[in-house]
């Protein structure tokens, strides 16, 4: 059974007075297996953010099904939703979304605290995680005291500390310089090799070229997908570039 199944996903936004309708997602279908590292690419307005919001259960689809480990997340009741997201998903955002009022340590603990885990368990998990992410010696600092790359690594730690089924990343390299970007992608690779499923939305070719599979979205549809196979990162980079050129110049779909 695939870890994540998306079937006939559809999302229509209606403007306030119902005058016009915007179809952000028409009919999106794909599956992700456990342990996969998938990137979703698309231009602004292609619907990829909408897709991620629905996968993250921040938004509800107009039609279709999203199953995580066999459970349809579109049917989860509002009251249970927060807990479900906390326990099964980890999030990494473009603008980090760390709280200024917490030290990095407390930011990382946040989802566990919300799940009422004891301090010792939290500390033990962080002790395992922090060295891997290279943040062990900055845990007591506050977000405004560290660099963007360090902030993002702390955010990754926050996402991973709950041991989520899937890590959802929204433009994780968007606010980072090239060095920090390289470090973060490196980190994602490591984490994935340890068995963590990752779904990353991005329009950075550099970021997408690290994934095992890249889905291309255009006009609310999965337009094309690309498997890494035996390609190196650089070959993958070139291939993604070609595909994007083809997409913008208007080739036929073969998803």
């Amino acid at each position: 059974m695939p870890l994540l199944e998306v079937e006939h996903l559809q999302k229509i936004y209606t403007t306030r007075f119902g005058a016009t309708q915007v179809q952000a997602l028409k009919d999106v279908n794909f599956t992700i297996e456990k342990g996969e590292y998938v990137a979703i690419m698309g231009e602004s307005g292609s619907g990829k953010t909408t897709l991620l919001n629905i996968l993250a259960a921040l938004d509800r689809p107009t039609g279709g099904v999203v199953r995580l480990s066999g459970k349809d997340i579109t049917q989860i009741k509002e009251g249970r939703m927060a807990q479900f997201r906390r326990e099964h998903m980890g999030f990494v955002f473009q603008d980090f979304n760390l709280l200024d009022t917490f030290s990095l340590r407390d930011n990382i603990f946040l989802p566990l605290v919300l799940s009422r885990r004891g301090y010792n368990e939290m500390a033990a998990r962080l002790d395992m995680l922090a060295p891997k992410l290279g943040i062990a010696d900055i845990l007591n600092k506050f977000p405004y005291e560290v660099s963007g790359g360090q902030k993002q690594r702390a955010a990754v730690a926050r996402a991973l500390i709950t041991d989520p089924d899937i890590l959802l990343a929204d433009e994780p390299t968007g606010a980072l310089d090239s060095k920090a970007t390289a470090q973060l992608l490196d980190l994602f690779g490591h984490v994935n090799r340890d068995g963590q499923t990752i779904l990353m939305v991005t329009h950075s070719i550099r970021a997408a070229s690290c994934a095992q599979r890249v889905l291309f979205i255009k006009d609310g549809l999965v337009f094309h997908q690309l498997y890494r196979g035996a390609r190196t990162d650089d070959e993958m980079y070139a291939k993604i570039g070609d595909t994007l050129t083809m997409l913008t110049t208007g080739g036929a779909a073969h998803a």
Binding site: G79, Y144, R158
Partner: protein, 656 residues
């Protein structure tokens, strides 16, 4: 193009109603309040009523207080507004408006809001001043109607004061914009904030200030010291409150954070860290709220208590309709004085038998220091609270009570309002008196109904020789006899006044040197305490408005700040319900901390205020306690109401 700036200004005023309307409302209330107080203080009719002068001078004081308060309040709200709008103003600069253009927009905004507020404020002022004036006359118990007019000089004073204030506010805002750079204006609200530091020194200082203040307030015993001491204590408590709110709160939160099992719980985790930042920004505001609330509580409960208790205060100080003192230059007896009184009354055509009761007795008194049962003459510069010792000849006591008692030279009867006195001997100077009996009644006085402003001991001694001897042994001087005169009639104030004036006019010169009709005293007290009450309620409501306003703006500014924080929390996996619960907890704490603290202040101030009230002749502690509790209860209800109102706006901002 010319009407672009006024239009923009108008539009701004209309659009930013969440922040601007409360400011306008405050201005309107300030203007109305100031006008009302001015017009009452300037009312000429008031001066002509007996006791009116007292009221007028109290109200003039009131206008000054209100003026100062209004200026401070409007400055506070203005600074809040301009801080909120920095981003918007920065945007104008980025969009190509020059700074002088921005200043022009600000000018028109100020102009429009000033006109709007002045017009509405004065209209409300005129409308309500009529109603309040009637209320005042009722409170003052003035039976004669006083003409009420719209006071032109008050209108002008109000206009001038507030136009000047608006001008200053505009200049302040304009220079603020002038000095800032657009990029800074744009970013000014979102610079990352450092974690607040807890200053243990300040916390300790705060605790010490508060401790000393409370200690003084609780331990003060002597009413006459109380007033002076009270101001010291108030200053200490204010300082302590500010210290504790600013650094004590943060120190406490840091302590809580250090306790890992407490801190890492969903209920506390977000609140503790959120509160730390909240306190950093708002400590001063919260401390002001606390102080203001305490002021409201103290002002209203004392003035209400004085007003309600004034009748019993008057009757304890003036037990009979007419009371007076006579210096005796000869050895006139009470009977002789009675005849003189009869003669004086008849001269004014008043029948002597309207006097239902007459108490006259001779006495000699001096201030003494009491050490248990030993009384020694009090030196003039004594720091201790002296007691008043009176010596009364048995002859007069017998004549007054119709008894035929006899006393030995070493025997005495005692009437005192000092409940702490016990034993049956008293040593005055070198004489020791054996107290045969403690009297419950002396003339019009009853021992359980006497004012305790001044502790007094009235000894009835065997005869004049003995009186002289005791007096001389205590003071080293010869006793100069005086006579108390208490006359009572039916409760008819015109009659009382007529009798007082007859005695004043027609008794032989230098006979009765002070004579009071209770009716006259009542009038002047009514006017004094009525004015106090009126002013107290007036200032109380003004303080209350300030409190409400500060709370409201606090909520709004926090709503803006917390919006981002809570949206992150939701993204990271907090449900709406949890977010709400957390918000609720924070607001409740921040909101009710000042109220709780005000209650504590009030509780500690209770003793010292009781002692101050004694100076005004108010000794009924129970009445004051009831007044305090009722005031606190009503105040809490109002506070709760404001909380409800503002919490709603806050949720709207946070969850938007």
């Amino acid at each position: 193009m010319l009407d672009f700036y006024p239009k923009l200004a108008l539009n701004n005023l209309r659009k930013s109603k969440d922040t601007y309307w409360p400011y306008m409302l405050t201005s309107i209330v300030c203007i109305a309040t100031y006008y009302i107080m001015q017009s009452i203080a300037m009312n000429r009719g008031l001066l002509q009523v007996s006791g009116g002068a007292v009221a007028v001078s109290i109200f003039f004081l009131g206008t000054v207080v209100i003026a100062i308060f209004c200026v401070a309040l409007l400055f506070y709200t203005n600074s809040f507004l301009i801080k909120r709008r920095k981003k918007e103003l920065g945007l104008y600069c980025v969009l190509g408006l020059e700074k002088r253009h921005v200043a022009l927009v600000l000018f028109f905004e100020t102009l429009f809001s000033a006109l709007f507020c002045l017009i509405l404020g004065l209209i409300f002022g005129i409308l309500f001043s009529k109603a309040l004036f009637l209320a005042l006359l009722y409170v003052l118990d003035f039976s004669t109607p006083i003409a009420f007019t719209i006071s032109i000089p008050s209108l002008i004073t109000t206009l001038v004061l507030f136009l000047l204030l608006y001008a200053v506010l505009f200049l302040y805002n304009a220079t603020h914009v002038q000095r800032a750079r657009p990029v800074e204006l744009l970013r000014s609200t979102q610079t990352g904030e450092r974690e607040p530091r807890a200053s243990w020194l300040l916390t300790l200082l705060g605790l010490i200030c508060l401790g000393i203040g409370y200690f003084i307030a609780v331990t003060v015993k002597e009413p006459l010291n109380a007033l002076l001491v009270f101001f010291g204590a108030v200053l200490l408590v204010i300082a302590g409150t500010f210290c504790l709110f600013t650094s004590g709160s943060i120190a406490l939160l840091k302590l809580l954070r250090r306790n890992k099992t407490y801190y890492y719980q969903p209920r506390h985790f977000i609140s503790v860290s959120g509160l730390m930042y909240r306190m950093k920004q708002n400590a001063a505001g919260l401390a002001s709220i606390c102080i203001l609330s305490t002021m409201v509580l103290v002002t209203i409960s004392t003035t209400v208590c004085l007003y309600i208790g004034r009748d019993s205060m008057i009757s304890s100080l003036n037990p009979t309709g007419i009371s007076g003192r006579v210096t005796l230059l000869d050895d006139r007896t009470p009977e002789q004085l009675n005849t003189e009184i009869d003669a004086a009354l008849e001269q004014d055509g008043i029948r002597p038998d309207v006097l239902e009761q007459r108490f006259l007795w001779r006495y000699a008194d001096f201030y003494a220091l009491r050490d248990k049962n030993v009384f020694t003459n009090a030196p003039d510069d004594t720091k201790q609270q002296p007691v008043l010792v009176s010596l009364i000849p048995l002859e007069d006591y017998n004549a007054m009570t119709g008894q035929q008692l006899t006393l030995d030279a070493s025997e005495a009867l005692l009437f005192t309002n000092d409940a702490s006195f016990s034993g049956n001997t008293a040593q005055i100077g070198s004489e020791t008196l054996h107290i045969l009996q403690q009297l419950d009644v002396l003339g019009p006085y009853q021992s359980n109904q006497v004012s305790t402003v001044q502790l007094s001991y009235e000894f009835v001694v065997s005869d004049f020789t003995q009186l002289q001897q005791i007096y001389c042994s205590a003071t080293g001087q010869n006793a100069e006899l005086e006579m108390c005169v208490y006359l009572d009639t039916q409760d008819d104030s015109a009659l009382q006044k007529a009798i007082a004036s007859a005695l004043f006019e027609h008794t032989p010169p230098e006979t009765i040197y002070s004579i009071n009709a209770r009716a006259t005293v009542t009038e002047s007290w009514n006017s004094m305490y009525g004015s106090f009450l009126f002013l107290g309620l007036f200032l109380g409501s003004l303080f209350l408005m300030a409190t409400v306003l500060i709370i409201y703006y606090k909520q709004i500014s926090e709503g803006f700040d917390d919006h981002d924080r809570f949206s992150i929390l939701q993204k990271v996996g907090m449900s709406k319900k949890e977010v709400r619960a957390t918000i609720n907890k924070q607001i409740l704490l921040v909101f009710f901390l000042p109220l709780a603290m005000a209650f504590v202040h009030m509780a500690f101030a209770y003793n010292v205020i009781c002692n101050i009230l004694v100076i005004f002749g108010m000794t009924d502690r129970l009445l004051f306690l009831v007044c305090c509790l009722v005031t606190f209860f009503i105040f809490s209800l109002l506070y709760l109401f404001v909380y409800r109102m503002t919490a709603h706006t806050y949720y709207r901002l946070v969850e938007a």
